[in-house]
């Protein structure tokens, strides 16, 4: 098993025409993911990379029964692309594009929430590295060869650190059930807690590696969730313990910052909740070995 993506997902690509979109779409197809089409407004009816192209996500869903979408649309238009996916009935949307205006993301999340919970689209990203379920499907930009089939789940905010963890595990002979990049933007879709819930239910996942970083409180929420609900070992590395304190403007930012946003505070809460803390980003494999 795996979470969110496997061979059954019917995937469409939004914005596959650019260099990045083309490069990764090819990789995704090569990996064996069930890509059923692409959406390129104005190019509907044509083919690209041997895939049927549609003008709109609705058309694509109607014609191909697609349930999953991956977005490479450039940042000024990515918010619209996410809403289009939600409107068309896409169930899982992975937005690779990052650097999306915060107000666009506020709108996207409001829009997604305007659907009844049962129909609501699961959004991964923006600024996500995507989802990789080794041996099943790749809906992301992960270098496939890094990932070995196995039973460790990976959830990383920063994409490259997720790759790094998979690489270290692979070298140590450890495989992955599903690896997800959830992005480091100010406002993102699915967070640690929701994915921990999925992993908790996944029979094939025996342990989970979380890779957090400074900013936000989702690691703290995840720590609390682990303490109360998690039936499997979770270990977590928090990047940025030595990160410089940025220059700041005004007082408001400091005032609204909550306890748990700094790396040290996150680590403190994780430890309190019994989550194993990975001391440095070279020790993923060693830590996983101890619990497997």
């Amino acid at each position: 098993m795996s979470i969110l993506v496997d061979k059954s997902n019917k995937v469409i690509v939004q914005g596959m025409l650019g260099e990045k979109g083309t490069f990764h779409t090819k990789r995704i197809i090569e990996y064996g993911t069930n890509v059923v089409g692409g959406v390129i407004p104005e190019k509907g009816g044509s083919e690209y990379l041997d895939l049927p192209i549609f003008d709109t996500v609705r058309d694509a869903v109607e014609k191909t029964d697609a349930d999953t979408s991956i977005i490479f649309v450039s940042s000024p238009f990515a918010g619209d692309a996410m809403m289009e996916a939600a409107d068309a009935g896409i169930k899982l949307c992975v937005c690779i594009t990052g650097r999306i205006p915060a107000q666009d993301m506020i709108r996207v999340k409001r829009y997604v929430r305007s659907f009844p919970e049962a129909d609501r689209m699961q959004l991964i990203g923006p600024g996500s590295a995507g989802i990789m379920s080794p041996g099943k499907a790749l809906v992301g930009v992960m270098p496939a060869y890094l990932y070995k089939e196995g039973n460790v789940g990976i959830i990383a905010r920063a994409g490259t650190l997720g790759f790094e963890a998979a690489y270290q595990l692979n070298k140590a002979g450890i495989g992955v059930s599903t690896s997800l990049g959830i992005g480091s933007e100010a406002i993102t879709g699915t967070n640690f807690v929701e994915l921990l819930e999925w992993f908790n239910k996944d029979e094939d996942t025996k342990a989970i590696v979380m890779i957090g970083e400074i900013g936000g409180l989702q690691e703290v929420d995840a720590a609390r969730y682990c303490k109360e609900h998690m039936k499997k070992p979770v270990m977590c590395y928090i990047a940025g313990l030595a990160a410089p304190k940025g220059k700041r403007m005004g007082h408001a930012g400091a005032i609204i910052t909550a306890y748990g946003e700094s790396a040290a505070e996150k680590i403190e809460v994780l430890k309190e909740c019994g989550v194993k803390v990975v001391p440095d980003p070279s020790s993923f494999a060693e830590c996983v070995k101890e619990v497997l």
């Binding site: 915060a102 920063a158 790759f163 790094e164 480091s184 005004g250 408001a252 980003p281 070279s282």
Partner: protein, 387 residues
Amino acid sequence: MDIHEYQAKELLSEFGVTVPRGGLAYSPAQAVYRAKGIDSEHFLVKAQIHSGARSAAGGIITCSGEEEIRKAADELMGKCLVTRQTGPKGQVVHRIYVEEQVTVVKEYYVGFVLDRQMERVVVVASADGGMNIEDRYKEQPESLIRIVVEPAVGMQTFQARWIAFKLGIDKSLLTQTVTTLLGCYRAFRDLDATLIEINPLAVTDDDHLVALDAKMSFDDSALFRRERIANLRDNTQEDPLSRKASDRGLNYVRLEGDIGCIVNGAGLAMATLDLIDIAGGKPANFLDIGVGAQPDVVNKAVNTMLSDENVKVILVNIFAGSNRCDWVAEGLIKAIQKFNIKIPVIIRLAGTNAKTGKKILKDSEVPVILADTMREAAELAVKHVPK
């Protein structure tokens, strides 16, 4: 992106916020000229730098008469101000704002900021305006008034009224307060701001509610649709190297130590800094070349790195996902030869084509030190820092 006080005031006044009369000057003579255009006896000459807390650092001077204004402007122009917010290097003053001095009866603090936890705009306000608002908040968090804006409908009049009443602003100023707060909210929304701060928001002796200082920051990701805001950028307020790097499509952050770090991806950058710290070293900077960097980018990165005279060791930590380690290796060799680099260069390559990349480096004549893991690379870098 940050802007200056005078720019923020101009923007906010278009949204109905009252500000004192003032004019921008690039020289003492122009400062005097600006003052002559304003019918007032007393003036403030204010250093325009991207930082608050300027008053305590001597960046705001009260003046009366031409000669005092000239002297104050002369003193401030070109001065490097170190405030509580600038960091130890401070910011150099290149622009001056001359403003009428109003008589203040009472000062308030108002801030609008994007709260990423709530995914909403939050308005914070306090009846104690002034410089030490964070300290005051830590001592008495309940003294802070806080309103969350529901994004589906925007800030409402009743919320602005609530803030006005909780601040205890005189009821005769209720309409002015509501106009000011709703104006700030519209500016925040319509201009893709990430911060608006008025500190102090002051009641004057002639019963006006006036923004005596104003700060605004903007969402960098939204500048593509805010041309007017993008044009307000003042390069002189940014680190020159950081600017140079960003012109080349790189992300450069200057730090205090001696190890220069070339990495790809913000996550890997943070991890690299963490490992250097664990190994007992101090980074001079980090330079993020991005996730899918092409060969020429490496060249640019090394060039930028060499402009930083604090760098005693270069640490390259690349995890190739979309890009390729062989490209990175070739780029590094070319750059090292071209710039005739003498300082130690520690390289860790992983991911796509890592083996080929390492082989290319080994086969070349350039004197680099290869590491297998991130930890090893960090330890080697620290070891090679000249004592």
